[in-house]
Amino acid sequence: MTLRCAAIIIAILALIAAPFAIGQDYYINIASQILLYAVFALGIDVLVGYGGLVSLGHAGLFGVAAYILANVLAAGYGHAVAIAASLIGGLIATAAFAAVALRSTGISFIMITLALGEIIWGLAYRWISVTNGDNGISVTTRPAPFGLSLASPRGFYEATLVIFLLAMAAMAIFVRSPLGAALAGTRDQPRRMNALGYHVWMIRFLAFLFSGLLSAVSGVLFVYYNQFISPQALALPASAAGLLMVIAGGAGTLLGPVVGSALVVIVQNVVSAYIERWNFMLGAIFVAIVIFMPEGLVPGVTRLVRATWRTASRRRPRAMAPSLGPKP
């Protein structure tokens, strides 16, 4: 355990020091993107990994918070008010979204969340008096908490890092809490959990709210990072990218979404530097991961390392790869 603590502290120190080591603004911005999408992916992982509920509509929740932020700022309020309004609005939207989507589970849940997400996208695209349609809304300033300016890439990175670490900590606490354990229980054995007296629906609903809150936080970060929001950020490819981050990294792990976010953001930036066909790559990676590495990178690599370790110490490996297939 002390080894683990040391590893976590070293990782955090490395993340804080990263911009000084990287130096170039371009790469610091990529690091900020990785962290802000990691928060988004963590939110999806709450449902996908721990709740067994695959959502394809999270970009909609992300977008609701982003648009509220942009609109409240455009109305002339301060950053604190705008952020509070967007998080509260994001939570209210999540509650409505969850109330509808949790009428079902499994494959129907995917369909309903997809339809809901697309409806929010349609709203962003066509409700021009509020969202300015395809032209989007620009946000000219970034906040300066405690007098620290976030205008520079480095400043923004450090602020994103703080929020990312808070999100990671919240996630770690959530997963280890009774609620997190109950959520995993509803994923594996919903009927038994029900028979044991747990309110399965309420557990899922609370998890959804937590997930929505993380999506809203990442939506706020997204607007401040890009200083712009348009319907494209809410479209189905955005939800799919979020889900891909979770599945590629490893659903149901803390580190998986972060690794997945790094993978997707790096591929997106590297690939789009050479060819325009980013969505094609996204789809191809999706298909390849689902077919060849359904358990994701983090569990896959962990299993490989453990298997090697065991072989080295002449013990037979016992670990079985979990699959995306239906759970008994």
Binding site: I110, I112, L114, E118, W121, L236, G283, F286, V287
Partner: protein
Amino acid sequence: MSFWLLLTVNSITFGGLLFLLSAGFSLIFGLMRIPNLTHGSMFMVGAYLGSTFLSGELGFITNFWTAAILSAIEVAVLGALMERFLLRRLAGQPLAQVLVTLGVSLMVADLCLMGWGGDPISVETPSGLGGFLRVGPAVFPLYRVAIIGIAVVIAIALWLTLERTRLGAMIRAGVDDPQMARVVGIRVSRLFTIVFGLGAGLAGFAGMIGAPILSVYPGLDQDMLPLALVVVILGGTGSLLGSFVGSIVIGFIYNFGQALLPELAYFILFLPMVIVLVVRPQGLFGGQVL
């Protein structure tokens, strides 16, 4: 008065298109238990292929209907190939299958953008149907009336196929209880390929038939897929009657919404879905094929 009448005709026309799209979607869902997220892409690919056939760029000139049928066949083959070589590998893993269809839909959207460019392509109304139909004081665009006719004919043909033919009986058996169907000697996995191809072909056909009204543009897939989802959530999965009623209802809500509250038209679709999910989560006609 004629405004409302025209809006009604437009709604039924759009409902007919949605039926062609969602009938296949619903059958695939009923049989394979997965939502085919490439269904919107099939619709768009059908329209793009049809517009290419029609333009004569391939060295031969086709009329509208031949183009529609050719593109439907092509899309059907693509769908069957995808089922056979991608989804079959993941048999028994519905979640993985859904994610693969999602990945393929993103790839198809990008390939279409690459192949046909970003500008919308308009398709001309087929010759002879550009006029108007006069009924008393009211005037209807002939082509829209023709679409309603085509949708009704295909609905009846599908119903007869499912109800009266051997293939239909096998599909019903497969929807009802795939394991028992296998036990009695029905090759359910071959049925999967057939139904997937059929559904894809219908979607492609709908794309071309709808092209003179909707035109073809990048993002058409993303516009149509949620509509198919909402229709199927509303009507119930695996139910032909459900997709028919759902399509007409959504056709009306969408068109009236666009005419009366254009900014919120997409949002209004949400309402019937919410009401149905609250009152009857399996959909209006869920749990039955016919």
